[in-house]
Symmetry: C2
Subunit: 352 residues, 2 copies
């Protein structure tokens, strides 16, 4: 199996058709496909089309809702609370962002929380359209049905990785950050375990409380867990921020670990902030541009590459892949072939 490159518009068309055949309305299928392909464009290949077969399986099994609308549990103007009714996460989040965007006309910040969303994909994939309008976005989620990460001081998993993403504009490219509050993910650990490799750092804790780079710690009894970011010495920081994510998502949404688990899904918090309602958009960008410049020009060790800002590499990859085609890791097209056959959708042709 080798890596192949595809025209992004072909992948978008292919994914949209599969999702439509699975039962999503055309507009919803198109939005979900767009968020997945955007993740691939940015280089986050675990959250791009690699997710699509799992999404299709969730739809087929009735665990991702084909149709229906989110229920508005509370509308406070600058704050909205939805029950996502297990509808496709990317579609819900895109709609939440669009709604927040409209309401920014009359509010300086707008927050939307969603309970019972299905999986929302790659958080970084949502940021650029917001920062392109000169706005700030905060986006975070947790999955109350999942675990993997130990609380600081513990040796068993209780929390999800709880990614926190944010985007803000500069005069040049925006800063687009998307970082989990854990050292790593179950998925990466599994991949390295299967490949017989070690983790790049002592990112796991074993049942005796020792840090280790051995991925087998998640798969052999007695099992350990992923450490919060900060590791054994400073993991109280990652743990604290992970709890904040749980509070902003599941607690504000009023549905989470206190409720029966419903399977793979997400509690979501998104907040849009208009710098124009604070000291002004020009002043904001003046500061972020100077900040970016200060970081980029920081001295580095002899022979080391220059400091990169969050999102910088992803945006460069995006630009290159929009031009030269999207690379799909070996195995991804193969994972979709059974669905293409089942739905009578032709596989996309790779670029020469």
């Amino acid at each position: 199996m080798t890596e192949l490159r595809y025209a992004p518009e072909r992948l978008l068309e292919f994914a949209t058709r599969l999702l439509q055949q699975a039962g999503l309305a055309a507009d919803r299928a198109s939005v979900v496909a767009d968020v997945l392909v955007e993740a691939d464009l940015l280089g986050h290949d675990t959250h791009g089309l690699d997710m699509l077969a799992r999404y299709l399986d969730e739809i087929a099994g009735g665990r991702m809702a084909r149709e229906g609308e989110p229920e508005t549990l509370r509308d406070s103007g600058a704050a909205l609370t939805w029950d996502g009714r297990r509808l496709p996460g990317p579609w819900l989040v895109k709609r939440a962002i669009a709604t927040a965007r409209e309401r920014l006309a009359t509010h300086p910040t707008v927050s939307v929380v969603i309970r019972r969303s299905h999986h929302i994909g790659c958080l970084q994939a949502y940021l650029k359209p917001v920062t392109d309008e000169g706005l700030v976005i905060l986006l975070t989620c947790s999955d109350p049905s999942g675990a993997g990460v130990a609380p600081h001081g513990g040796v068993a998993s209780r929390l999800t990785p709880n990614p926190f993403a944010a985007g803000f504009p500069t005069e040049g490219e925006p800063v687009l950050l998307d970082v989990s509050m854990s050292t790593t993910t179950n998925a990466l650990t599994k991949r390295l375990y299967d490949e017989g490799e070690r983790l790049p750092g002592p990112w796991l804790v074993d049942a005796d409380g020792r840090a280790s780079d051995d991925p087998g710690i998640l798969f052999r009894e007695p099992k350990g867990a992923l450490l919060p970011v900060g590791g054994l010495d400073l993991g109280h920081k990652g743990f604290a921020l992970a709890l904040l994510v749980e509070a902003l998502t599941s607690a504000l949404a009023g549905h989470g670990r206190a409720d029966p688990a419903e399977g793979w899904g997400a509690s979501v918090f998104v907040q849009l902030i208009d710098p124009g309602a604070f000291a002004g958009r020009d002043a904001f960008v003046r500061e972020t541009t100077r900040l970016a410049e200060l970081c980029r020009t920081t001295p580095v060790a002899a022979g080391a590459p220059p400091v990169r800002l969050p999102g910088e590499r992803a945006l460069a990859r995006r630009a290159a892949q929009l031009e030269g085609g999207v690379t799909l890791r070996a195995g991804i097209p193969e994972s979709l072939r059974p669905w293409a056959d089942r739905f009578g959708v032709g596989m996309p042709a790779p670029l020469a």
Copy 2:
């Protein structure tokens, strides 16, 4: 020099009198003293009365403003932007929180950003009065005149530690987190350097890009810097969050590293969130209470203490010190004696 214990009300009175004699109005002196003593009560002794001599020196030197009001640069209802005019940080932040609290009556979230505040002390000291009312608070700051922390991949300092604090209620004690986006602080590194000790972990980066626990790296040429949380392998996470803090504070406030440095101070972002405007306060507390229980009951390694939640140890210390007296580290009373003599204020008597 030994550690002595003091009645908290005596320390409050003492600190208030010193600040009044330095030129602050009674109400402002009292608020600043309260925030400092609260930090000592919580056990954060680097940010309690240990700061007072420096504050008094800043006032005496005209670098912390004795009087005047913050200037409202923009009032968008649910968002306020102030120029703090270098007024005492604790007084500005307490006032920002009180203003946000009032406005929560008509807004689901209220944000206040402050440029040109003086130092705001210990962030955790502000949280409990807000969570006691069933509300959520986010509080973060940066100091555009300072540095100490390297961007991920760099070997020189460009950012401040950028603490991020948040508080949210549970049925029991609130969760009160206050974590910097760096591995440690300049102050702790200096103390260990002076004492000839090593850091507890490889928290610094030297000029060659290597991680180290040698505090001398900050004090010998070629100098290194503090690493962002995550260290050499995962420091892109701490770096990303540190940039978000800079954006929420200095960029929203429209004053920061793009402007001439004005000395020790802070750009501040505070946001209050009313869970009652989302899925409801009861639903919020039901979730956070379950979350806290899940964490506290996590298995630990044989012989290890149980998992603690952020703020748990600080709140226990606070309760004990309210009862049995506040311990001041050796050197702190001595640092204040010259000011007490100068202002004719009697030193507080230690408890027997």
